[in-house]
Symmetry: C2
Subunit: 464 residues, 2 copies
């Protein structure tokens, strides 16, 4: 199946290059709009984009536009004249229309609001008021509303009249005269009940409505926890505003995972809506540079420690053989612990109130990891260094040297595990995103600590 898609995409490319309008229309017929959007993203020549967009036409292009990365929306929309733009807007659901307008510059946005009908304009204005990352920002208001005192017959009739979009039929809610959410009914109960059944008899209570101002993370969690297909969005007085659908929830969950992953890796700023290949080098650059620069300066702290302990290192130069190992082990174990804790928080398994439990768990883990690594390295040192006749100054035995190295390794792993696990919890309790404590930052901090541990331990045990 994937092969058919690739084949069709190749044909589409040929049709665009040859400016073959009828060929293009034929192949577009057999492609999904998501695939067409991905194809458009790969075009770099604006003439080609314009040809593609215009030939597809406003009505069919509406679904493609809704799938495009924000950056491409404006130029694509403006391939159409005003009449066509109106046709296109009429095809979009209210949440997609809002997203399209959100992607425009402010001037263009008010221009576009101007060409909408009065009702649509009001609706979109209301939706634009919600922050993009909230339940309100994701919701659609296209739902079926019935009242509890109707019969099945009356409800079916009222739904048939108000049938703006076929989607609404899977979202039928029972609301009071003041618009308050009373519950939900299922299409099947309308279909399989006698016409005089009162709606109130087949109303289910809506157990987990969500506030329009709730963060999108909460929306995704609600879907996950209750295996929901749709979630009702209400205002503070429980008035029904709209619904968020499961495909939005999936997109939110994916966005949040990507965001966490990127933050952990030390990428700053928001992820681009364009895919990796079509994001400009400069955009990538901006997201990577600042952490790199900050961390570079931070790393000078480790360098300073190394400089201060010149006498120790030059006294026993063999210490440099294990220096990178001790330092890196701290960064690695700290990064592991941080990732575990950050992910557990994102999945709702942990909150800062669990900090003591996390600390106790990671303390034992760090001790276990640290001692096992230390013992292993001690054995390796004791067994192999004499074989290679590794150079040590007089009065320093291989055993003492191995002991110093492995003790500092153990300590470094213990400390780093604890620091890596607790910093994200600290961030969360300071109301920051826990993933803001990027793993490289943890690594850099524990590097400096490890440097101190290494040299101080060596100094104390080997007497330098």
């Amino acid at each position: 199946m994937q092969e058919t898609v690739s084949l069709n995409l190749e044909m589409l490319e040929e049709a665009v290059e040859a400016r073959d309008g009828s060929g293009l229309l034929r192949v577009v017929e057999s492609l999904h709009y998501a695939d067409i959007a991905r194809f458009q993203e790969s075009l770099s020549d604006h003439d080609e984009v314009e040809f593609l967009v215009r030939i597809i036409g406003p009505v069919k292009y509406a679904s493609v536009l809704a799938e495009l990365p924000e950056e491409l929306v404006e130029s694509s929309l403006y391939c159409f004249n005003t009449t066509d733009k109106r046709l296109l807007f009429a095809e979009l659901s209210d949440d997609d229309l809002t997203d399209v307008l959100r992607a425009l510059s402010e001037v263009k946005r008010s221009e576009m609001l101007g060409i909408l009908g009065r009702k649509d304009k009001e609706l979109v204005r209301a939706l634009l008021r919600y922050d993009e990352d909230t339940a309100g920002g994701w919701m659609t208001t296209q739902i079926g509303r019935v009242s509890g005192d109707m019969t099945v017959k009356k409800a079916l009739e009222s739904l048939r009249v108000n049938l703006e979009s076929t989607d609404t039929l899977s979202r039928i809610f029972v609301v009071s005269d003041e618009g308050k959410l009373e519950g939900r009914i299922r299409l099947r109960d309308l279909a399989f009940n006698t016409w005089d059944t009162p709606i109130s008899d087949i109303t289910y209570s809506e157990e987990h409505p969500i506030l329009a101002t709730a963060d999108q993370e909460e929306v995704a969690m609600t879907f996950k926890k209750y295996d929901a297909t749709i979630v009702a969005v209400v205002d503070e007085s429980n008035r029904l505003l709209g619904v968020v659908t499961h495909d939005d929830a999936m997109e939110i969950a994916e966005q949040e995972s990507t965001e966490d992953m990127e933050m952990i890796a030390g990428l700053s700023g928001e992820q681009s809506e364009s895919s990796y290949l079509y994001t400009t080098v400069f955009t990538h650059f901006k997201r990577r540079f600042w952490w790199l620069l900050g961390l570079a300066f931070l790393a000078v702290a480790s360098g300073y420690v190394m400089l201060r302990f010149e006498n120790v290192l030059s006294g026993i130069y063999l210490l440099s053989l294990f220096l990178p190992m001790v330092i890196a082990a701290g960064g690695n174990t700290g990064g592991q612990a941080a990732t575990m804790v950050i992910r557990a928080m994102a999945l709702g398994e942990l909150t800062p109130s669990d900090s003591a439990k996390v600390a106790w768990k990671e303390f034992r883990l760090g001790a276990l990891l640290g001692s096992l690594l230390a013992v292993t390295i001690f054995i390796v040192c004791a067994a192999l260094l004499p074989v290679f006749r590794a150079p040590l100054p007089d009065g320093v035995s291989y055993l003492a040297f191995g002991f110093a190295v492995s003790l500092s390794l153990g300590l470094q792993v213990m400390f780093s595990t604890l620091i890596g696990a607790l910093l994200p919890l600290l961030a969360r309790s300071l109301k920051l995103d826990p993933a803001v404590i990027a793993a490289p930052a943890i690594t850099t901090v524990v590097d400096a600590i490890g440097m101190v541990i290494y040299f101080v331990t060596a100094q104390a045990i080997l007497g330098l």
Copy 2:
């Protein structure tokens, strides 16, 4: 709302501790089964678990059992006698039942298959044959089937008769006599059409069925791409086997993200189904130890380079001030690039066939990042080192020193960016999971390279 849940959970805890059966039943009434499962996970005393499970009773407990982490399934199920187990099984959908049986030891599994009815046993046996991580492993067979030559009236009657589960009504498929998938119909079209409408008139083609043997990643991608609510699962001859639903897709996407995140952080083995706090220290330990140990040995390579260049470092000891910076910058930028590429592949934006494009993009990025960092550090060296009268041997100027440091920094960043981006692509083209190239492994490799770059550059420019 979240507060009501917490309050209820507290009441539940009190009821369990006081062995207050009627109090427990009252509070269970107002809790979602997912919350009860999470609560049960937090119990450490088996007597308490047994009390909770038995009081809830087999019928209500079925949904809780389906939400439990694998490790807890067997002991919970065995709180019931055989009759109750049968009652419980009857409440589970076929995919949940299969998952429950999958969680049991082999002996217990055949014991449980023994108490199932003939039809269920066959069904579950068939489902157990599919690997857990495939479309077949996730699917449910509870769907509505009609034939294209029926009328709406006939279809409604046949659905009413075969109505095993209310869920099936949102999944009505048209199949041929041999069971081949012909398309899908929507309940609304049955409800809003006259009784003599032929089913073939209201049949939609099912555009993206998926093979039962397809990997779960492909399932999640299909849902995402087509904003699907359900996806049909077929065998090689296009015979309809079942469906995967959107809540499963969300769970798959989440599992895959967690897996990638953990692999990137250098955690091995499968994630535990228990949440972070209820996973034993030893389980955590096993997942972290092996990478740490391997990386510790790998890091000795860097140490060896340092040992070999003893003369350079002892010649200009000031080099140690910037050594950690140059080394770490490589690891950080390599980790960023790797994360970007791994995530882009997971989202289906990249395949190994794009390697050349990725290489060209990351080469320019690395050059840009490397030169900007190098220039910054050069200015800092040139401006600040003389102020602090940093000690340099005769014949080495601050400018030359700064040039050596910043040149090696730039080179290290360039190489590391490229290595970090290309290693995951290489892994994928070797049919490995790209995230298997954990960021700590990349860091360790580029550390050693950075060490060489640093000392060789210093030697060449400062003439040691």
